[in-house]
Amino acid sequence: MAKIVRVNMSDRSVKTEEVPEKYRFLGGRALTSSILVDEVDPTCHPLGPNNKLVIAPGMITGTTAPSSGRLSVGGKSPLTGTIKEANAGGIPGQLLGRLGIKAIIVEGQPRDKEFYILKIDSTGAQLLPAGEITGKGMYETNAFLWKKYGVGTGIIGIGPAGEMKLLNAGVSCNDSENSPGRYAGRGGLGAVMGSKGLKAVVVISEKGLQVPLADKELFERGRKKLVEALLKHPVTSQTLPTYGTAALVNVLNEAGALPTRNFSAGRFEGAAKTGGEAMAEINPQRGGTMSHPCHPGCVIKCSNIYHRPDGSHHVAPIEYESTWALGANCGIDNLDDIAELNRICNDVGLDTIEAGGTLAVAMEAGLARFGDGKKAIELLNEVGKGTALGRILGNGTEYTAKAFGITRCPTVKGQSMPAYEPRVIKGIGVTYATTPMGADHTAGYTIATEVLKVGGEADPSDVNKADLARAFQAVTMFIDSSGYCLFVTFATSDYPEALEGLVETINGTLGTNWTTDDVLRLGKEWLKKERRFNEAAGFTNKDDRLPEFMKYEKLPPHNAVWNVSDEILDAVHNY
C-alpha cells in the first residue's frame, strides 16, 4: 500500500499517512505541485516555517521501465518566489518507489539550529541527529552515510550551501557509485531543505522489493516498445551514449546560439575543447568512463565519470549545461578547470547552471578575467567557506548582478538562463519567459508536433509559437510527473509506438486508462495549477518576460535580438 511520510520539523514528529484518492494516480512533479497548491500559502516566505519541501518519485519510478528513475523535489522557491519542481536521477527515487513511498512532506521548522537525518526503510521512518556530518560537503557526507547505512543506500542531501540557506543551493541525489552529482539543482530547493534543518534523507536499500503493477502484461508490452525505440533512435542509441549531453556544445556553437561570456556572444572560440567530442577523446585515455547510467535500468547512459590527467576520479558527471555554464559562459576552455568547478558545485551543493551564470556576472564585474579558470575556482570556493563574498555568489546570478551593478543579467523570475540563447532560438525563449519555474530549458524541452498534433513555426512573428511552447510545457509536465527521463522524448517524438509504450507502462503500473491524448490534457491541467499558485503569490504576465538587455543588445554572430512580442508570450497561457 502506497503511503505518504509527513515530517514535522517543529516537533520532530514523523507520521505515515494513507494516500488521499486525489493523489492516487499522481507522481513526481504533478504530485509535488498538487501538494504545494493544497497545503502551502503562496505568499509564505520560502525559508520560513510555512513553506514545505515535498519529495516524490515519479509514477513508475522503481519499476523496470527504461530510464525511469527520476525523483522530484518541490517547494516554493527562494530563488524565484514561484512554485518549484526540480528533478534528478540517481538511486534514491527508485528505492523510495519500491518502498511504496508516494511522497515525503517536510514541514515546520526546528526551534534549535541542529540538523537532522530522516532514515527510511521498510519498517518506517525516523529522524536522527545529523551529528558529525553537519557542515560537511556532499562527498564526505555520502561516504559517511554509506559506511554507516550500507553500500547502495539512497541519499538525498544538501551541502554547506543548503545549510547556509543560500538561494542557489540544490538537492543532491547519489548514484550507484555514491557520487553526489545527480542534482535536483534548480531554484534553491536545497535552501528550503536547509531551512527545515534536514541535512539528508537516507533510503535503505532492501532486496526483493518491487513496485506493484496493476496490469503486468500491459506494463511489459509498453516497456518493450519503449526499450526498442530507445535502442534504435539515433540520439538515444548513438549520440548520447557516445558523447554524452555535451555533444550539444559544438552543435549550439555552430548555430551561433551558445551563450558566451555572460551572454555577450553566441559563439565561443574554445567550444571544441569543452564539448562531448573532446571528453570522449581524452577521458577514456585517462581511465574515465563515457556511456554511464545515472541509475540502474537506464538504457540511454548519457552520463560520464571524468578523470584527472593522473587518472584519478575527478567528477561525475560533466553534463552539457555544466560544461557550458562553467565553460563558454565564463570564457573558460580548460576542461579540467571546468571539471573542478563542477566538483565544487557537487560538494558545496550548488546548481551548476546558476553557479556558472553567477561567475560570468562576477567576471563582468571585474572579480576575475573571462577565461581565468583558476580564479573562478578560487571564487567558487568562497561559497563553501561562507565568506561575505561567498554568500553573495551563493545567492545566484541576479543577486550577484545587483551586488555589483551589472545590467546584463540573464535571468527570468530570478533564475539564471540555461545554455540556449533565446535571441537565436526563439522557441526556447518563449519557454524561459512563460514557464512557472523561471528560466528553465527542461520545462518545455520538446515534443513531437506530429504525434501530439500541435503546430508551430519558427518564425518569431508567428503566434503559433505560443501554441508550440504551451504544448512543449504540457508534455514536459507529464514526463516530469511520470518518473521518466526527459530524454525518452527523443524516441517518443519520432516513433508513435514509443509514446504508446510510455503510456502503457504507466497504465500498467497505476491501473489508469490514459491514452496518448491524455498526455497533453493532463499536462495542461497540472500546469494550470502551478500557474494559479504563482498568481496567488503575486506573479502576473509582466513577470513572463526576458531581460531588457536582450531586446537591444545584438548577439553576434547573427546580431539577433529578442523580438518576440508580449502578446505572443501572453498567449501561451490560453489553455
Partner: protein
C-alpha cells in the same frame, strides 16, 4: 555534374568545420581544438557539392549549418562561408529547434 567537371571557375574555399566521426577528414586542427577542411568552391555550388567533394554521402550526416543557419543540402555556398557538418552519430537536435533553410530550389 559538379562545376570542376564542367570546367567551371574555382572561386576560393569553403571553411568546413567537422564534428563527430567526420573530424578525421580535417586537414587542419586549430589550437582551440577545431577540426577544419578547406574545400574548393565553384560558382553555383551548393552544400551537397561540398559534401560530395569530401567524399561524404548525405546519409552520413545529421546536421548542416551554413554560416550558423540550420540548412538543407540545396543551399548555395560562396567562398569564405562557414559550413558546419555533423556526423550521423552527432544527431542531437529536436526538429523544432531550428527552421531549416532548404535553399532556393530543387530538393
Amino acid at each position: 555534374m559538379s562545376k570542376e567537371e564542367t570546367g567551371g571557375q574555382q572561386q576560393g574555399h569553403i571553411n568546413v568545420y567537422l564534428y563527430g566521426k567526420l573530424r578525421g577528414l580535417a586537414t587542419h586542427r586549430t589550437s582551440q581544438g577545431e577540426h577544419i577542411a578547406y574545400v574548393p568552391c565553384w560558382e553555383g555550388d551548393r552544400i551537397r557539392d561540398i559534401v560530395a567533394r569530401l567524399n561524404l554521402k548525405p546519409d552520413e550526416l545529421s546536421h548542416l549549418f551554413l554560416n550558423g543557419v540550420y540548412s538543407g543540402p540545396a543551399c548555395r555556398v560562396k567562398p569564405g562561408d562557414r559550413l558546419g557538418l555533423f556526423a550521423k552519430d552527432m544527431h542531437l537536435l529536436y526538429r523544432q529547434y531550428f527552421p531549416v533553410d532548404q535553399g532556393d530550389e530543387d530538393q
